[in-house]
């Protein structure tokens, strides 16, 4: 994939031009060229960085964040047969869920789109996730990071419970924990033993990327 094509892909995504994005990635997919597919992923991730920045600065809104994420997801689906030929996923695995008692999922899903587009394999446990289900998934998938979403104060007490259970099962040390959502603050998150709090999905993705690369 040429620099020009990468730029075209990025621009199409930033114009929310789904047909334009899919046209470029479909062409890449038919070549079955792993290097080109990786460059396409790079272009998509680059565009999403810009989307995230625009969102953080209040220039873009949630619908644009969601829709660009959806376009990126479809593009990644087209590219994944080529990328899956690789034995190792580029960035590692992340497990994520919304804590028990809380059914809010929009923020979690946006984070999933961003993390997936940044090259992570994401295991989505859904909403209303119990302590046991979080621990079971961590034991099974051995992720780089566990992401917990929480928008409700009544549910926030579930986060230290999840962390405590991971400590008891002896897997806390080998794992980074990141949390986000309206009910949380950085202070609370660190106090209850998380490694990081993310005010938004873009920051969250940057943090897990840094963790994954630092490993």
């Amino acid at each position: 994939m040429s620099a020009q094509e990468m730029e075209k892909l990025k621009e199409a995504l930033l114009d929310l031009n789904k047909a334009g994005v899919l046209e470029v990635v479909s062409a890449t997919a038919t070549t079955a060229d792993l290097q080109a597919a990786k460059l396409a992923v790079e272009a998509i991730a680059g565009a999403l960085q810009v989307v995230g920045k625009r969102f953080q600065e209040g220039e873009w809104f949630l619908d644009e964040l969601v829709y660009s994420g959806e376009i990126a997801k479809q593009a990644m689906e087209k590219l994944s047969p080529i990328l899956c030929d690789e034995t190792q996923p580029t960035q590692g695995c992340v497990v994520i869920g919304t804590v028990f008692g809380d059914l809010h999922d929009l923020g979690k899903d946006i984070f999933i789109n961003f993390a997936t587009s940044a090259g992570f394999k994401v295991i989505d446990l859904g909403v209303n996730v119990s302590v046991e289900a979080f621990t079971k998934a961590v034991l099974e998938h051995q992720p780089v990071a566990l992401g917990i979403s929480c928008l409700l104060t009544p549910a926030a007490g579930g986060i230290p419970q999840v962390i405590q259970d991971l400590v008891e099962k002896g897997v806390r040390e080998s794992l980074k924990i990141i949390v986000g959502g309206a009910a949380l603050t950085e202070k609370f998150s660190l106090e209850v033993g998380a490694d990081a709090f993310a005010p938004d999905a873009v920051t969250g993705t940057d943090i897990i990327r840094a963790w994954s690369e630092g490993q």
């Binding site: 789904k18 809104f61 619908d63 969601v66 929009l106 209303n128 009544p154 309206a182 009910a183 005010p199």
Partner: protein, 391 residues
């Protein structure tokens, strides 16, 4: 002044005798804390072999559903009176129980609009019923749903009218019932389809979205008529347009798809001589001028955790909108100290009380909103909220 005069005076942006206080009481946990009585928790029955079957059958009958719903809200009204509120909201919903393998209990509520509501028991043993999924993610599914559910929509309007009337008849001499017509047009439009799908459709199939909005607008106007037929004098409409950091959708898009509908809502309410107050969570500064333009009389929520500052809102809208709410439900009304609650009430009154046009209330309700803190809030309002306000 009695509670009703107090509310109506302040909504006219005149100073009443004291700052009115409104309860947003509906959660069984808060109710049981005040009254000592628990609301009917049907989840407890559903698991039992014989009783469960009977309970499921009963819940799906119109009379039992209405009775249970009314019973829960009657307790909420009693709690609000006991805590000394001038007003409390009342909301009706019509749901049916279905076998639903995708839900945690294997059984879930489906509402008339096409939402799934998960039932559960929170850690205090109280019933919780919360929106979890959309039943109509595609255009075809949505069309089929609204075709099939026509009788249910009629039932919904009829039941809601009866529910609000019964509450108004029973309680309006002791407290002002505020008829909450919720969820609103935006939420009824997206929640049956799902936010992500709905957003995609806004970009890819706007004609369908317009059809959905037109349908929901007509239904909502019928629903509002019903709420007003009950005799309530102030109507709340509910639609969350914001999230923690800003609008849920670009404001210009909201205006394009929903602006005309909201204008019709305000016109209808005004044509019946009533006030329309709009509930929206989240950070919504960018909608305030639209609210004025659409004809709303006031807004409720102003969530502090989403950076909504009462003084800033008042500065932006002046006395073109009455303001209701703003007391934090993340910390203050959950575990805040007496001193913190007292100070927050004083700050709110100082920011929005002068000239009338402010009703003190929590920013929202959830099961951990603590009755003792609500009591402190009311007491502080009585202590610091006498007009003419001091300093």
């Amino acid at each position: 002044m009695n509670f009703k005069e107090r509310i109506l005076t302040t909504l006219n942006h005149e100073e009443p005798d004291q700052i009115p206080v409104m309860g947003l009481i509906m959660d069984p946990s808060t109710v049981s804390q005040v009254t000592g009585k628990s609301a009917t928790n049907i989840v407890n029955f559903l698991d039992k072999p014989v009783l469960g079957k009977v309970a499921k059958g009963l819940v799906n009958t119109n009379w039992f559903w209405n009775r249970m719903y009314y019973g829960n809200f009657a307790l909420a009204m009693e709690s609000s009176i006991q805590l000394g509120f001038d007003a409390n909201w009342s909301i009706y919903a019509l749901m049916k129980l279905y076998e639903d393998p995708a839900s945690t209990l294997g059984t879930a509520m489906h509402d008339a609009y096409g939402r799934v509501w998960e039932m559960g028991t929170n850690d205090r043993g109280d019933l919780s019923v919360d929106y979890s999924r959309a039943l109509c993610p595609t255009e075809a599914e949505w069309e089929a749903w609204v075709d099939a559910k026509a009788p249910l929509f009629d039932q919904l309007v009829k039941n809601a009218t009866g529910f609000h009337k019964k509450l108004a008849d029973k309680y309006s001499h002791r407290i002002m019932p505020i008829g909450y017509a919720a969820p609103g047009i935006f939420e009824n439009s997206w929640q049956a389809i799902g936010f992500v799908n709905f957003t995609k459709l806004v970009y890819e199939n706007p004609e369908f979205v317009k059809r959905v909005v037109a349908f929901q607008t007509d239904l909502y106007l019928r629903y509002l008529e019903g709420v007003m037929d009950s005799g309530v004098e102030v109507v709340l409409g509910g639609d969350d347009l914001g999230q923690k950091t800003g609008p849920l959708m670009r404001p210009a898009l909201i205006d394009k798809f929903f602006g005309e509908s909201y204008r019709r809502v305000a016109e209808l309410v005004h044509s019946r001589g009533r006030k329309f107050i709009f509930h929206s969570c989240g950070k919504i500064y960018q909608f305030l001028d639209m609210f004025i333009d659409w004809g709303f009389d006031g807004i409720i929520t102003m969530e502090p955790t989403a950076d909504m500052d009462l003084a800033r809102v008042r500065e932006q809208v002046g006395h073109k909108l009455a303001l209701v709410g703003n007391l934090d439900v993340s910390h203050l009304l959950v575990r805040g100290s007496h001193k913190e609650v007292d100070q927050a009430v004083r700050d709110a009154i100082r920011a929005a009380g002068p000239g009338g046009g402010y009703i003190l209330s929590a920013a929202h309700s959830h099961p951990y909103v603590d009755a003792t803190r609500l009591q402190w809030m009311v007491e502080a309002a009585h202590e610091h909220g006498r007009y003419p306000l001091q300093g």
